[in-house]
Symmetry: C2
Subunit: 253 residues, 2 copies
């Protein structure tokens, strides 16, 4: 009701406010033994160790030596906790590229940085995204990506679309490779044996007359050779950057 230091417009969710450090604790009552960053850290620790499915309110509370319901004094809901976990899980953005590098080298570095994070924190891919980025680190990553395009003559909307395109690709690629790794672990197969086994299964299921193109790909044996996942990543990224480069060149005139 009262006008504070910040004429807050349309009621920011409490979880976002705490992420930006905008919450002032009233100087009353007992000092809180738990803190929002502490809870988020504990949740991230659980996810790192046992995956996102292991992150329950009771498990996080146990990690902190607290009772389950104690957490709800600090965060509004589990969804809020997940939002903050994503922010903390991504960590700080990779920072701006060297001034001499062009936009392409910069975006490549940026994309690889995100891929590296997602490779070590595959649970980030399993968090259901509920909206556009709004937490500090997320916007920091966005900022660093946009900066790579500073020297181009793309329109503002085009820059945004390009960043969305690249980050979408990175997430997608990371999801696929994580699935392969997870599937091979679940099936007890060596990682290199996963795709060949998949190819054999599909080959047994499909009728070559009804799936001729797929059958050709399978018999070509591409799935049998286990190529470096890094090459796969680079291939797709280069295709996307080629497409962006065509646009950048057109706008350069």
């Amino acid at each position: 009701m009262a006008a504070k230091k910040d004429d807050s417009g349309p009621a920011l969710p409490p979880a976002i406010e705490s992420a930006w450090g905008l919450r002032e604790r009233p100087p009353k009552g007992p000092r809180p033994g738990l803190s929002v960053p502490g809870i988020v850290d504990a949740a991230v620790r659980v996810a790192d160790a046992d995956g996102l499915a292991a992150v329950s309110m009771s498990r996080v509370a146990k990690e902190l030596g607290a009772a389950t319901m104690a957490l709800y004094r600090h965060i509004g809901s589990k969804d809020d906790l997940l939002l903050l976990m994503v922010d903390a899980g991504y960590g700080p953005p990779p920072g701006p590229a060297a001034p001499g590098d062009g936009w392409r080298a910069g975006l490549t570095r940026w994309a690889r940085a995100e891929r590296d994070v997602l490779r070590h924190r595959t649970w980030l891919l399993h968090v259901p995204i509920t909206g556009p980025p709004i937490t500090p680190q997320q916007l920091g990553w966005l900022e660093d990506g946009l900066r790579c395009l500073d020297d181009t003559h793309l329109a503002a909307g085009e820059k945004m679309s390009v960043i969305l395109l690249v980050t979408g690709y990175v997430r997608n690629e990371a999801t696929l490779t994580a699935q392969i790794a997870e599937g091979s672990r679940a099936a007890g197969v060596k990682p290199g044996e996963m795709m060949p086994a998949y190819g054999r299964t599909v080959a047994r299921l499909i009728d070559p007359a009804r799936f001729p193109a797929l059958h050709r790909v399978l018999t070509s044996g591409v799935l049998n050779q286990d190529d470096d996942p890094d090459d796969e990543f680079t291939f797709g990224l280069d295709r996307i950057l080629d497409g962006i480069e065509a646009l950048v060149d057109r706008r350069a005139s």
Copy 2:
């Protein structure tokens, strides 16, 4: 144990077998009142009506006038049901493109077809994907995509990567637009007012000195004009296809 008509290799999951119609019912016992396709249809109906979160075993059973546990006679687990729901939800693939059309027109048509499906069945985006495509319709979509590249001189692995690239983009784009629509509905805002409100929120949070590139984009007002989501989709798709075209041309020599 016994060698049947099909020397099945590494034990196909039962859910996959029923999707391919490989399950023969023993001619004993009472005729089943429930069937796997019937259960899947009911689950899809629930998801269409009330979203994926409403799909619980009891809700699906209620839809069929059956008891909850009756479902488990036909499907092994809820995950199996989800797998079959995805297959049914995608529906038949769009079919091969006209022979005269080039690969680019074909892939565009293919991508738009997937986007149309995902627009009407946003719950498909919320099903956690657990592995590479292995159900009939899914492989049908893959087949149709690969056929678009028949006339190119890409290597088999490259064709596969290209298809993965495009379908990944479509899913990503559909996820983002669905989030905006869902968010505006949840917040009670008009769909056209969603992105401007988001822009205002971010502008209030960030410090222009620390987020200069982001601040420039926000003040440019790109978020205020509500552009056709179709244009956004086409923009990204054209960038990707431009990148692929560069590769196709290089391989054509």
